[in-house]
Amino acid sequence: MPPTSRIPPLLQPFVRTPKNESLLLLTSTLDASANWLLTRFLCDALGSGQKDNDNGGAKNVVLVSWMNDYEFWRQESRKGTGLDLGGLRTLGRFAFVDGLSGLFLPAAEDGADQQRPQSLPAAQPGVPATRGPQSLPLRGPPGRTTPATATAQAAPRAPTSQPGLYALSSTSLDHINATVTAAIASLRPSPAAPRTLVILDNPDILLACVPGLTPASLTSFFLGLHTQPSVSHVLIHLQSDLALLAPPERPSPLQIAQQNLVVRTAHMSAKVLGVRVLDTGVARDVSGVLRVTVNRESWADIATVGEGAEGGAVQAPEEGGSEVLYKVNGDGSVRVFERGAGAAA
C-alpha cells in the first residue's frame, strides 16, 4: 500500500507543509494526543518523495522527541501509515534525536546512557513495543536526571551501526542545538526532497526541567534551527492543557512560562493546528477535534499586496480556519470527517 494513501483526503491539506518557509505549531492536550497527527506529518513529508505524482511536499525529516523514544515512533508510523523509518534512516532521509532515554529514563538499564540507541531492537519489527518505561507521565517529576556533563561535551555523532539515531545527554540548549544540527547535517538532500522538516515533539518539557530556562531562549532555539540553510519548516508540538496554562488569577511561574511559550510560538507560526477533545463530552465514534488556523501574512511577504482582483481577494472560507473531527481506530488508522458527517461517512 503506498504510504500517501494512508492519509485521508480530508486530512491532506492539514499535514502538508505550506509553500512559504515557516514555523508551524501543533498543540495537543492530555486527552487528545497528537501522535497520530505527527506520524501523518512524517508520512506526508517522507512518503510523497517515493512517488513522483505529488512533488513539492517531499522533505527530509529530523524528529526530535522528548516524550517518546525511537521504538515508539517506529511502531506508530508503521502501524498508522506503513512507513519504514529504519529503511528511511539508511537512505539518509530521516534522523531521530532521542530526548527521552538519555535524559529522563533510569540509566542503569543497559549500562552506559549513550549506548542506548545502539541497544534498541531496531531490527525486530515483529516484536511489540514494550510501553512500560517509554510512556512516562507527561509532567513527571523533573527528576534528577541530568547526566554527567562530560558526555555532553562529546561530539554528537551517530553510531555507525545505527545511522540517523542520535541521543541527547544534556538539557543545555547548546548541546541540544549541536545534536540536532548534526542530525540535520547527516541527512542526504536529493533533488526530490531538497529541504528538511524539523519536528520538535514536546520541547516544553524543558521549561519544567531546566531551572532558569525562559520561553525566549526556547523560541530562539527554534529560530536558530530555522536559520539553518537546509531547513525549510520547523514543526513544534506543545501542550495546551488548561492546567499548564496560566489561570487568570495567581498563576505560577511555570504556568506563565508555558503560556508565554505557546502564545509566542503561535505568534511566530504560519499555521496553528490544535487537537482537543469534543467540547460536548466523550463520544464513542469521535476521538477529538482538529482545528487549523492560518496566519497568512508574515514578514517575508510584508511588502506584497494582493493582485487587485476584486473577486480573488475573497478566499475560500476554509483558508481562514477550519475544524474537522477525527477518530483514531485501534489498528492505528484514522478517519477524518466533517462535523455532522459522523457515522454515515
Binding site: L25, S240, V275
Partner: protein
C-alpha cells in the same frame, strides 16, 4: 440711578417735590446724565432752583455733548498685534502674522465671522478629521507619531496593519528596518536586524543605528516590544534617542497583549510598573488590533444586552489556542488613540481593508515596488457596511432568538394549508346576520332519529 417722577405729575406729591429734592444726594443724581431730562419732563413747568441750574452748568461745562456720553468706552489695547513680542529674526525664522491680537470685540451679530467661537464639527467634518489623523500615521508622515505602540493578540495579529505601514513607507521611498525577535525570513526590500538569541542590547542598538544612519528617514519596526524591553533590557530612552531624535525617524513597536509578564527570580521588579504600562505611557499613538468578525459579534451581543463573547484562549476551553475567525480576511479593525502635542488625546475606531495592487500608482524608480497611494481607503468603523447595517445584526439576533427546543415548532406548507381548511365551530352563525335568535344549528346524522315529542318540550 433713575427717579420716576411721572406718577407725581399732577398728584398731591407734586407739592412735595421740594421735600423729595431736599432728601436727595444731588451730587450722585447729577452724575447721572439723564437726571435733568427726567426731572424737567416730570415736573413740567416747575422752575428749578437756581442753584441746581448753576450746579448743572458747572458739572456739564467741561464735558462732551450728551450724545457722546451715551457711548460705551472702547476697550483699550495694550498692543495692536504681537509685533514686538515675537522676535522675528532671532533664533529661527518666524513667519509673520501669528498671534495677531484682536482689535475689536465681536458683537453678537458677527458670530459667523472668523473670530467666532469654534463650533462642534458636523459629522462629515469629524469624519474627515479622524481619517486625516489615521492617514498621516499610516503614511508614516514625519512627526505624525514618533512612537506608535501596536497592541495585538492571537485573535488579530498586527501584521496586516504593519503591511500597510511598510508598503506605504516603501512607496514613499522610506527606509524600512525590522528589528525581529520572532522571525528569520524577510522581504528583500526591507532591512532587518535579528535580535533573538545571544544578542545583547548594545549590539542590537548598534545594528539599528547602522541600518538607519545612512538614510534620511526610516521606519523602525520592533516586532516584540516585550522582548526588547523586558528580556533584552534595551533602554527605551536610548532607543528613542537614537531613532526619533537622532535620525528623525518613526518607531513602531508591537506588544502581544496575551503574553504575560514574567517576574524575575529575584523578585526585584515586583513593585516596578509592568513594561506595557511604561510603553503605553510613552507612546504617542496606541493602536489596538481587533478582528472584524469579533467586533461584529461583540456589537450584536451588545445590542441584545448580552455579555460580549470571548475568543481564542480567553474562552478558557481546553486546547483552543486560536479562534477560528481570527485574523479576518475582510480587513482589520483598529482602535486608535492619538495623543496630540497639546496633550489632548483623540480616540476613534477605524476599519482598514487589505490593500490591493491597484491602490498604488505605477512606480517611478526602476527598483521601486509601488508608486504613491492613489486614494486613502481607511474608513471609520461606523462607515463599514457590515457594522453600520442594522439588518446584518438583526439576522444574527433573530437566529439566536429562536426557542431552543428539541422539537420543531415550525409548520410545513402542507400543514399550513390543512390549518387554513379547518372550519371553526359556529362559523356559519357568524356569517348570517344573526337576528333569527336561538336557532339551533344541527345536522341530523344517520344514527339520529327524530323525536317529535322531545322537540316539543
Amino acid at each position: 440711578m433713575s427717579i420716576d417722577f411721572s406718577a407725581s405729575a399732577n398728584g398731591p406729591l407734586c407739592n412735595d417735590t421740594g421735600r423729595h429734592l431736599a432728601n436727595m444726594s444731588f451730587s450722585t443724581a447729577l452724575a447721572h446724565p439723564t437726571f435733568l431730562q427726567d426731572f424737567e419732563a416730570a415736573t413740567g413747568a416747575t422752575p428749578l432752583p437756581k442753584w441746581i441750574c448753576e450746579l448743572y452748568a458747572y458739572r456739564t461745562k467741561a464735558k462732551k455733548p450728551e450724545s457722546r456720553l451715551r457711548q460705551t468706552p472702547k476697550p483699550k489695547d495694550r498692543a495692536a498685534d504681537a509685533e514686538n513680542w515675537i522676535k522675528r529674526t532671532n533664533n529661527f525664522p518666524v513667519p509673520g502674522g501669528i498671534r495677531k491680537r484682536k482689535t475689536e470685540i465681536a458683537s453678537p451679530r458677527e458670530r459667523n465671522s472668523k473670530y467666532a467661537m469654534p463650533r462642534p464639527l458636523n459629522a462629515a467634518q469629524y469624519q474627515r478629521h479622524a481619517i486625516q489623523l489615521m492617514s498621516s500615521l499610516l503614511n508614516v508622515r514625519a512627526n505624525a507619531s514618533p512612537f506608535t505602540l501596536v497592541l495585538d493578540d492571537l485573535n488579530q495579529r498586527a501584521i496586516p496593519f504593519l503591511q500597510h505601514l511598510v508598503v506605504r513607507a516603501l512607496s514613499r521611498n522610506i527606509n524600512v528596518v525590522i528589528v525581529s525577535f520572532e522571525d528569520t525570513r524577510f522581504h528583500t526590500q526591507v532591512r532587518h536586524v535579528s535580535a533573538w538569541g545571544n544578542r545583547t542590547a548594545a549590539t542590537i542598538l548598534a545594528d539599528i543605528e547602522q541600518a538607519i544612519s545612512d538614510r534620511k528617514e526610516s521606519l523602525v519596526i520592533i516586532d516584540s516590544m516585550y522582548d526588547a524591553v523586558a528580556t533584552k533590557n534595551i533602554d527605551t530612552a536610548a532607543l528613542f534617542n537614537l531613532v526619533v531624535m537622532k535620525c528623525t525617524s518613526t518607531l513602531v513597536g508591537i506588544y502581544h497583549t496575551d503574553m504575560l509578564p514574567e517576574l524575575s527570580a529575584s523578585g526585584a521588579d515586583a513593585y516596578a510598573p509592568q513594561p506595557l504600562e511604561l510603553l503605553k505611557f510613552m507612546a504617542t499613538s496606541i493602536i489596538t488590533c481587533r478582528s472584524l468578525s469579533h467586533v461584529l459579534a461583540a456589537k450584536a451581543a451588545r445590542e441584545r444586552s448580552l455579555a460580549e463573547p470571548t475568543f481564542g484562549m480567553q474562552t478558557g476551553a481546553e486546547g483552543i489556542v486560536q479562534c477560528l475567525h481570527a485574523n479576518d480576511e475582510r480587513g482589520i479593525v483598529l482602535e486608535a488613540e492619538f495623543r496630540r502635542k497639546s496633550g489632548r488625546s483623540e480616540s476613534e475606531t477605524y476599519f482598514l481593508r487589505p490593500s490591493r495592487y491597484s491602490d498604488y500608482h505605477q512606480p517611478i524608480a526602476p527598483h521601486q515596488l509601488y508608486g504613491t497611494l492613489k486614494q486613502e481607503f481607511v474608513t471609520l468603523l461606523d462607515q463599514h457596511p457590515a457594522y453600520a447595517n442594522k439588518h446584518v445584526v438583526g439576522i444574527v439576533a433573530a437566529a439566536d432568538d429562536e426557542m431552543e427546543t428539541s422539537f420543531n415548532l415550525a409548520l410545513t406548507d402542507k400543514q399550513k394549508a390543512a390549518r387554513e381548511g379547518v372550519v371553526l365551530p359556529y362559523f356559519d352563525a357568524q356569517k348570517q346576520e344573526g337576528g333569527e335568535g336561538g336557532r339551533i344549528l344541527y345536522d341530523m346524522g344517520e344514527e339520529d332519529d327524530f323525536d317529535e315529542e322531545e322537540d316539543e318540550i
